[in-house]
């Protein structure tokens, strides 16, 4: 059964892909390899995983504003997430998503972090909803 969750559009567009969930915030500068899209910070729970093509679900960004450029570089290298879902977004991820044309939504409940990795998730930022299997 499909579940539709309401959310707020931050960066427009529609995309789907397998969920990749992080309960920890992500600092794109330093935590993510901008060439491969892999999480390279050994202290991060997603260490070694690739963001490429995933619907990345995480609370929000943190760290340097240069992180916006890292998201852009990921997109250019074909290593970016297909879409991103935040609990509450902040300027680093918001600006990164906008300049990279990656759909980004936020204002969803923390239950979204319960979604299992690999489950297909569809983000429609323009209509303001996320669709996932129950």
């Amino acid at each position: 059964m499909k579940v539709k969750i309401a959310c707020r559009r931050v960066s427009g567009g529609r995309a789907k892909g397998p969920a990749l969930v992080s309960r920890e915030p992500i600092s794109f500068l330093g935590c993510v390899d901008p060439e491969s899209g892999r999480i390279v910070d050994p202290d991060h729970p997603l260490f070694g995983r690739s963001l490429a093509g995933a619907v990345l679900i995480f609370p929000g960004g943190r760290g340097s504003t240069v992180g916006s450029y890292v998201i852009y570089q990921l997109k250019r290298r074909g290593a970016a997430p297909a879409a991103m879902i935040n609990i509450k977004t902040e300027p680093i991820v918001a600006v990164g998503a906008i300049i990279s044309d990656i759909p980004l939504v936020d204002c969803v409940s923390e239950e979204i972090l319960e979604i299992k990795d690999g489950v297909e998730v569809e983000v429609d930022s323009d209509l303001g909803h996320v669709i996932t299997a129950d």
Binding site: V10, V66, S68, Y69, V70, Y72, P91, A94
Partner: protein
């Protein structure tokens, strides 16, 4: 425009407001890398208001003397050129207010990025700006507006912590004070009660240090700009005594430094005058950098010549924090609370802290 609208939504801004000027971070190729260069190069258009750049990763003319590689230099020059094409002034400085006083007057709304310049603009000039990221500052420059939230609004400009300073301070002591208070106040707004009246340079050092050890964007000093009328009495208080200031020096000895670097934030003319005066008749035994804006150096070639006669280098457009040239040293001695905070993390180099005089003594090996 989409960037500004999204930021406005995130922070609940009702609207965008016109701004007087923009100062854009994200210039040093060391920090923004290929990705940043690609994005900036693809931007089109012309800035709507006076806009200047933060320091680059090298002196744009004398980079070879700094030991910068050809490869880095070509990428760095490409970054600056990409910004220039958008109509942005290529003064690469963290202290635009020292060379363009018209960029920020009391009450002006701005979109500045460099954290020490933001602290100075809000606190010493009495203008209003949030701490912008590189892309949001560039977007504001092209549109001439910024979302109306945060430090643009009176309600967010009330002091959150009273700081009573019980001892007389001078020069780099203000950097030490900022280093201590920034850690305590975090992103809050301190209100200082000081026994003396600090100079512009001392206020610059204080704000820069607090913006680095905390994320202070606004502070007050009793007797200068007053907080908004309805701010009320702030409850929290702390007191600073001379022992705590001395501890900052003690815990960061300059011993064993291979490079001595002054000018974080960039030196003003009075600071260059003081340094030139103290270096007169002396010769450096260690590498000594004096960092400033090119426009400041150009305005006083006599001071540059006098300083360089000692063997020191007057370096423009960059600084010890954002240039990869710092990374080849094991330890750098500074008179700046901000540089003290950033050098270990951003350069992977140890940092020592001393007064301007102690720094110059360390560089010239003369007691």
């Amino acid at each position: 425009m989409e960037i500004l609208a999204a930021l406005g939504d995130i922070f609940g801004a009702e609207r965008l407001i016109p701004i007087k000027s923009v100062q854009i971070a994200g210039v040093s190729f060391k920090n923004i890398g290929e990705a940043g260069l690609e994005w900036i190069s693809e931007m089109e258009g012309n800035v709507a208001v006076k806009s200047v750049l933060n320091p680059a990763g090298m002196d744009l003319l004398r980079w070879r003397e700094m030991g910068i590689s050809e490869e880095f230099a070509s990428r760095q020059l490409a970054v600056v050129e990409a910004y220039r094409k958008l109509g942005i002034s290529t003064d690469c400085t963290c202290t635009p207010y020292q060379i363009h006083p018209d960029m920020a007057r009391r009450g002006d709304h701005l979109a500045w990025s460099e954290s020490s310049a933001v602290a100075y603009a809000n606190s010493v000039i009495g203008a209003r700006t949030n701490r912008e990221g590189g892309p949001s500052a560039l977007a504001a420059a092209l549109v001439g507006k910024t979302p109306y939230y945060g430090y643009h609004l009176d309600e967010n400009r009330a002091p959150t912590l009273g700081v009573r300073v019980e001892c007389d301070l001078a020069g780099s002591d203000y950097g030490a004070l900022g280093h201590i208070v920034g850690k305590v106040v975090g992103g809050g707004v301190p209100l200082f009660r000081l026994p003396g009246r600090p100079t512009q340079e001392e206020l610059k050092a204080l704000g820069a240090a607090m913006a680095a050890s905390g994320s202070v964007a606004l502070f007050y000093v009793e007797g200068l700009i007053s907080p908004p009328a309805d701010s009320g009495e702030n409850e929290e208080r702390m007191t600073i005594e001379m022992d705590e200031i001395r501890d900052v020096y003690r815990m960061h000895s300059g011993e064993g430094s291979e490079l001595v670097a002054l000018g974080c934030p960039h030196c003003s003319v009075p600071e260059l005058e003081a340094i030139a005066g103290q270096l007169r008749g002396r010769e450096v035994e260690k590498e000594l950098w004096i960092c400033t804006a090119r426009a400041i150096a150009k305005s006083r070639p006599d001071l540059v010549e006098s300083i360089e006669r000692s063997g020191a280098k007057v370096i423009c457009d960059t600084c010890m924090v954002v240039s990869p040239a710092s990374e080849r040293y094991r330890k750098i001695m500074v008179n700046s609370g901000k540089a003290l905070n950033y050098i270990p993390g951003l350069c992977g180099v140890m940092a020592g802290f001393g007064s301007t005089e102690e720094c110059l003594r360390a560089a010239t090996g003369r007691d």
